[in-house]
Symmetry: C2
Amino acid sequence: MDLVVHDIDFLWTGETLLEKSSISVEDGEIVAIAGGDTTPAAREPVIEAARIVDGRGKALLPGFKNGHTHAAMTLLRGYGDDMALQEWLQTRIWPVEAALTPEDIYWGTRLAALEMIRTGTTFANDMYFYPRDAVRAFEDAGIKAAVGLALFDFFDEERRAQETSRMEEILRDVGASHGRGAPVSLTVAPHSIYTCGPELLRWSVAAADEAGLVLHTHLAETRTEVENARRDLGMSPFSYAHSVGLLSENAIAAHAVWLEPEEIAMAASSGVTVVYNPASNMKLASGAFPFRAFADRGVPMMLAPDGVASNNNLDMFDEMKLASLLQKHHNADPELMTARETLDVAIGAAMRRGDRSHRTDLFPAVGSAIVPGAPADFVLLDLSHPQMVPVHNLISNVVYAAGGGVVDTVVCGGRVLMEDGEVPGSEEVITEARRCASALVQRVATH
Amino acid sequence: MDLVVHDIDFLWTGETLLEKSSISVEDGEIVAIAGGDTTPAAREPVIEAARIVDGRGKALLPGFKNGHTHAAMTLLRGYGDDMALQEWLQTRIWPVEAALTPEDIYWGTRLAALEMIRTGTTFANDMYFYPRDAVRAFEDAGIKAAVGLALFDFFDEERRAQETSRMEEILRDVGASHGRGAPVSLTVAPHSIYTCGPELLRWSVAAADEAGLVLHTHLAETRTEVENARRDLGMSPFSYAHSVGLLSENAIAAHAVWLEPEEIAMAASSGVTVVYNPASNMKLASGAFPFRAFADRGVPMMLAPDGVASNNNLDMFDEMKLASLLQKHHNADPELMTARETLDVAIGAAMRRGDRSHRTDLFPAVGSAIVPGAPADFVLLDLSHPQMVPVHNLISNVVYAAGGGVVDTVVCGGRVLMEDGEVPGSEEVITEARRCASALVQRVATH
């Protein structure tokens, strides 16, 4: 056995709460779960493992799945806040993004992955620049990820040709080793319907289909996007996306805030996965995700912090609390989006379709339940942290009371990435990320 | 010297950001701050202190001030969620509160204080039951507090007589040693205008005046409270509170969500301090605090998590992020409630009036700035936590990026309550709080 976690106080499988149980892992997968009644004799064999983690005083649950992020933006943490979207993009974000180097992407993504590990995230769906370096950063950090190069053509044919050939080169170079089933896979990521012309959107759909990859885009984030789409494209964003073939069972639409009632049905029948970004939507005053409408139609959903520049962290505990509280406040209904519904969205359970009980459809390497045969992607929380005391309701404590500080141990693909709050190699990541961040803003200032 | 913190990377005084500085503390007060240019020779004398803390890799700022809480409700963490207010109170909270013992209050308050220390809070304005035991708990934990017995008469004369004699007894017993200037002081705390008749409210105002204590109440929390006040009392809550003398420079009104425009002016001229409870207001779908209107009129403000049962934690980092994000979302304005404005509300700077630059008017023992002569109530944050990297803007990192897990060291009244994340005596608090919480719900279940 590669890894055994024994005597876990509480284990949330995704469906059931077990007490005093043990779990064993081999070749990156969960192979057995022993219940509370296991006698010492029965437990003897599993204790013979290459790595043994003591689960006493801990709660185990699936790791969090970050459904939409721009990982390397950690280098811009706090670089521009409390600003209107357009001013923020034009005066703060775009000038810095133009100066980013592959090295910045590598260390920015490593810093993001470090924060994710510290706060219990085992998978991130990333969209940014220099995907080769982002792939390498996630692989070196040990968490699972889907990495897309953000494609923009601003409705310009020449730029479109550049973007598609750049993307084709990446697919050629790293596509074969980073297919959809890989721990770190590529995606095709046209940025949005307002930065990509219809030809680039259609090319992206075809490229994703051909390579068997997931398509990742921003969609229906702001009221302005809706107004502009109606004016310039003659349709609201979801309808337009549908008309160019963007919505499918292979697609992830981040934000999905502004939909007409008939577009909720369109989302449901298309099979698209929508991603709720509560902190980002609140910080930029974008609006509130229609959680109840999506949930009632069975639309697959994920939760996400977006990029650090509009958040300003990657802590899924923050997102869970904000997700539920925003629904309750915005709809004036304290019973909306329960703790259980929120946890399901955060661990990837709400993105599953059909009877795939332990692997997500979009990313087969990613586990979203603690059952034999599932990928071993899980976290252990410290039950002696005051925010986890007492345990009247474990899920409520996780969603409403806990912060990232309660995460004690993180296992991804069977590898222990953090134990007792320690992530080996953190110091180098912090040092290099600081160096890249200061050099970056200095380059921009002196430009 | 009692305590020296040397070589602090960043020190936020409340007004200014200092780099590479040191701070010395004697008899619970800050006596000196040495700037970044201090030579080793000049630093020599201050290094001779009873306790020395290394500030390298840390940021120092004033501790957080929790403006409104029910501390011992930590024992009910996660006991009832996702419910409408009345059902929640009647089926979950009130039956358990009726079964609370003084021992429960003591250990529940100790658990609260432990969570507050872990997340950087050095003062709490508490309102609950058995105040003698709450006072003892805060004193044993070492943080500063104001403690009120929640008074209710439900408009019944007999209950009023019981409540006032109970409160008079407490004032006699512990009032002298816990006056307004003490680290742990008493308050007079009529619960609200809908649970206290006008006679009890007037009695409370007179009792607070006579004893020189702060008055603490809930006010204008929900739309229902407004509707009922109009129907039953002929006025909206703030106007009614004003008519019975409740609003004054000695009063704290928690929630203050629903005010008519003219009541904002009334709040301003009365001198009352209002408390913003974003998580509680969102979780119970109560509404959004009118931050901008209060700020424009110079109304003193505090920030608070309310009780754990409607939150479910006491982490002021959560409250800061929610406070700012709720304003931006609710008013569709991403420039509202900046990081600096939010931090000011959280550290007690926004509750100061006049020229008292370092002590709060309401609680003179409580410090809200890092200046010589101020009470030594401050925290050190770990700058190598990934959520604090990089530092383009320290305040933005504190308000939007950090969680309670970044707090490294907590000093209150000159005493080091936590260093390197360790609070001595935590284990006993956790064990006893768990014991009390299970016994409590068992008593209720078998009742």
